[in-house]
Amino acid sequence: MDTSATMTLNQDDTVEAAPLAPPGDLAVWFFILAELLVFAVFFIAYAVARTHDVALFAVMQQTLDPDAGALNTVLLVSSSWCVARAVLAVDGARLRTGARWLLAALACGGGFLLVKGLEYADKFAEGIGLSTNTFYMFYLSLTFFHFMHVVLGMLVLAVLWHGVRRGHYRRGRLSGLESGAVYWHMVDLVWLVLFPLVYVLH
């Protein structure tokens, strides 16, 4: 079995073969697949539960702030972009630039937590909780589950930032950085489904 990055067809004709494994540690990818599966169950449960009480979900969705949801999408997508730029910078031996991009990603992640926290505070002040109704049971549990992933992702980003500053990563030794980066992108990917499902679609 050919495991090399290139395959030689003959003396003059060489084609690039696709890398076998995705960037980062393979174990992290299995973890990501497990996480995606759990979120898929959540999303499908929400969508099916909605079909049993469309009117309730439609009215309750009106109590959410789509501006906050859109702002959080901008923050999380921008944070993913910053992480992608950080990996590219470190790969190009620009460690200081890479560390700055990771700090920017952390700032965007912090902004996300702040906006989401303000949304929660607003709802709790109105006396809304998990037992308010089916919609809020799903909204609070689904978004808080994702919220905790953002918190974990930010801890990972902070460790990566420290590692980049210490020079732990460089071209050919990027697996740790890439593993943390793909986890953060997964958190972003999940939000890209959560945002339209909860805030936009009626």
Binding site: A40, I44, T51, V54, W81, V182, L189, L192, L201, H202
Partner: protein, 86 residues
């Protein structure tokens, strides 16, 4: 992947997010549902292939993440089209 490429992808994601946000105010309907989910698919595909680095990686990895996105969005589309808001 170049920095310019990544920056252009971010611009696309911002544009698609702005469009979804604008559609949040639109009247519910099959057309809006379709466009919003199509935008979610394109955004998710961009993050999976370009940011997560699955573009060019051998199967099954791109298919697993892409398949997750397709299945989840298809189920959501089915339930919303079956039971639209009045």
């Amino acid at each position: 992947m170049t920095t310019r490429h990544i920056d252009l992808l971010w611009l696309f994601l911002m544009f698609a997010t702005a469009l979804s946000w604008w559609l949040a105010e639109a009247s519910p309907g099959a057309g809006v549902t379709g466009v919003v989910l199509a935008l979610a698919f394109l955004k998710g595909r961009t993050v999976a292939l370009d940011f997560m680095g699955l573009r060019g990686v051998r199967r099954p990895w791109p298919w697993l993440v892409g398949g997750w996105l397709v299945v989840v969005l298809a189920v959501i589309a089915f339930t919303f089209l079956q039971a639209p808001a009045a």
